[in-house]
Amino acid sequence: MVFSNPEIWALTLSMAIPLALPAVGGTFSERTGVVNIAMEGIMLIGAFFGVAFSYWTGNAWVGLLAAIVCGALTALALAWGAIHVSADQTVLGMGINIFAAGLTTFLLNTLFGYSGTPVNTPKLPTLSIPGLDHIPYIGIVFQNQSVLVYIGIVLIFLSHWFLFSTRLGLRMRSVGENPLAADTLGIPVWRLRYLGVVLSGIFSAIGGAYLSIGILNGFTSNMTSGRGYIALAAMIFGKWTPLGSFGAALIFGFSTALGIVLQGHGVSSNLLQMIPYALTILALTGLIGRSTPPAADGIPYEPRR
């Protein structure tokens, strides 16, 4: 009964995108060897500045661009600390998460007051795929989804191709597996790590902007509500690959959608929401397909001179 309702599949896709994008971003970062738990914070930064610039300029696309720039800058701070200073990457990520949650709430209240962002903030358009949307049943999945859903899906497939089928992608992965070997081959370890972390910032920020100017047209304090951490889980469950992350995000998105649809059917959405976290622990323990991180993940590299 529930599964024959196509709404649930549309909802699954729309709930999976804000998990998949930061998860793919995290994949870029961790594949180059920098642990990134700051997706939550960077999503908040993207969500806030997306709304702010969308309102100030009256153009949601400028908002999206601003979100990307701010997300990349935040990621740059993480990259600098992780790569140049060899700081503990988990500590840095924690710092960024708390900072971002504080800063976005602080700016929300100082710039827009306590009643929230203006209601007339422009949002990104929704789109139906002509042709696909006429197919019965499946069609509704691709009806009136935010344009970012389609952009996101394209980006995810591109990322997978980039990471596993291009020379640059191979080099990025080599830096995360064995930086010393990569360095002796003349591969610029630090530069590729910067690239990985900044890409993670861009993807996370798009994920955040999807929430604030894709689905809604406003920002509320801590509106990501832990999605950055579920994205972390999706990345691990997806075995540090973009397509795997997308698959995991779809499973997690489905459990969220199920929670929404089953509300009022006597099933606790709180219990359903545990599924992503429980699956991730199982994946890490090897009970359902062992997930192993890149070998040099989280280990700073000092270039030999």
Partner: protein, 357 residues
């Protein structure tokens, strides 16, 4: 030199964060001096405010001890927030059952339940999976933390711990388990001498355990170099489980103390974030149990001062989160100091060599 650096670094990190905060506040058109002034007076301005600061710092201190202990054992317990809530849930459950017990025994049982629940939550899944299959504790403790909060929320939103009625909250704990407040001096603050004594005992216990017992020595050895500890005959796996369990035990105790001393019931929300702020508390204290008192009070003061600041100067209290995040970031970047010193020395020696060669 090292001792001096361990004090100077957190102070410097905090100062830099405060300066950045001042710039941010000034850029938005406020007077940073009066903003920080209202923060300080809100934290320490009166006996009542001081009491509030101590109340806010107690859970941070107790959780911070556990996090410091895990850091010293080479483990990053990032999920203390969930262990705190599981401890709180267990304490509240015991608190409104067994009402025929004498008050002191009932209190002790609540505290023990909280500690046990926290220890199990951190020790079983994150501890055992870390020890036996190498699952990274940062991820497992974080996932377990979310599961804990969802579980607690389930219990009071239609689950077995919901009080009769429509409001998602648990019943109140028995009145004879609630800690008595100060009747003089701090009476405006929800501060109990019992909470303070428990926190003091926790600090001493953590310090004694880490530095004066074989267990503590083994834990620190595992933290410094797990491989060397293994060759020295220390059962590393056992100590990994113990370190996480002990860390969760402190977080669970904090949850129990908070329920018995302040909240008296589980309320919907679960957004205290004590578990995350306590990470900063431990980092700033350089994982020293005695230092945790000072950094715990510092962040307690930021919390209460921030609320006063919002009322007095209309600057949102979330400014304190900005400061917190910056402090963690800068403390995390501690290795920049030896790098800068090294760079300075190289430059000086290069300059000294140039005329000679």
């Amino acid at each position: 030199m090292k001792a001096l650096q361990s004090i100077l670094l957190p102070v410097a990190a905090s100062l830099v964060a405060i300066v950045i905060g001042a710039i941010l506040v000034a850029a938005l058109g406020y007077n940073p001096v009066s903003v920080y002034g209202s923060l300080v007076s809100g934290a320490f301005g009166s006996l009542g405010n001081l009491g509030n600061t101590i109340t806010a710092s107690l859970p941070l201190i107790i959780i911070g001890l556990g996090i410091a202990l895990s850091f010293q054992s080479g483990l990053f317990n990032i999920g203390a927030d969930g262990q705190y809530w599981i401890g709180a849930t267990a304490a509240v459950w015991v608190g409104y059952h067994f009402t025929s017990l004498p008050g002191w025994l009932h209190m002790v049982l609540c505290l023990l339940a909280g500690m046990l629940a926290g220890a199990i939550w951190a020790g079983i899944v994150p501890g055992l999976t870390k020890a036996f299959v190498g699952a990274h504790e940062v991820i497992t403790t974080m996932m377990m933390s979310y599961i804990a909060i969802l579980f607690a929320r389930y219990l009071i939103e239609g689950g077995p711990m919901q009080q009769k009625g429509y409001i998602p909250q648990s019943p109140l704990i028995a009145s004879n388990t609630q800690f008595p407040y100060f009747t003089q001096g701090f009476q405006q603050a929800q501060l109990s001498p019992i909470s303070m004594i428990i926190a003091a005992i926790a600090v001493l216990a953590a310090w004694f355990l880490l530095y004066k017992t074989t267990l503590g020595f083994s834990l620190r050895s595992v933290g410094l170099n797990a491989r060397a500890a293994k060759y020295a005959g220390i059962r590393v796996k056992l100590y990994i489980v113990l370190a996480l369990a002990l860390s969760g035990l402190f977080a669970g105790l904090a949850g129990a103390v908070q329920m018995l001393g302040v909240d008296h019931q589980l309320l919907d929300g679960f957004s205290s974030n004590y578990g995350y702020t306590a990470i900063v508390v431990a980092l700033l204290a350089r994982n020293n149990p005695l230092g945790v008192i000072i950094s715990g009070l510092f962040f307690g003061a930021l919390t209460t001062g921030g609320q006063n600041m919002q009322i007095a100067s209309n600057v949102p209290a979330s400014l304190t989160n900005v400061l917190e995040g910056l402090i963690i970031f800068f403390v995390g970047c501690e290795r920049i100091i030896p790098q800068v010193i090294g760079w300075y020395r190289r430059r000086r020696s290069a300059r000294a060599q140039t005329p000679a060669s």
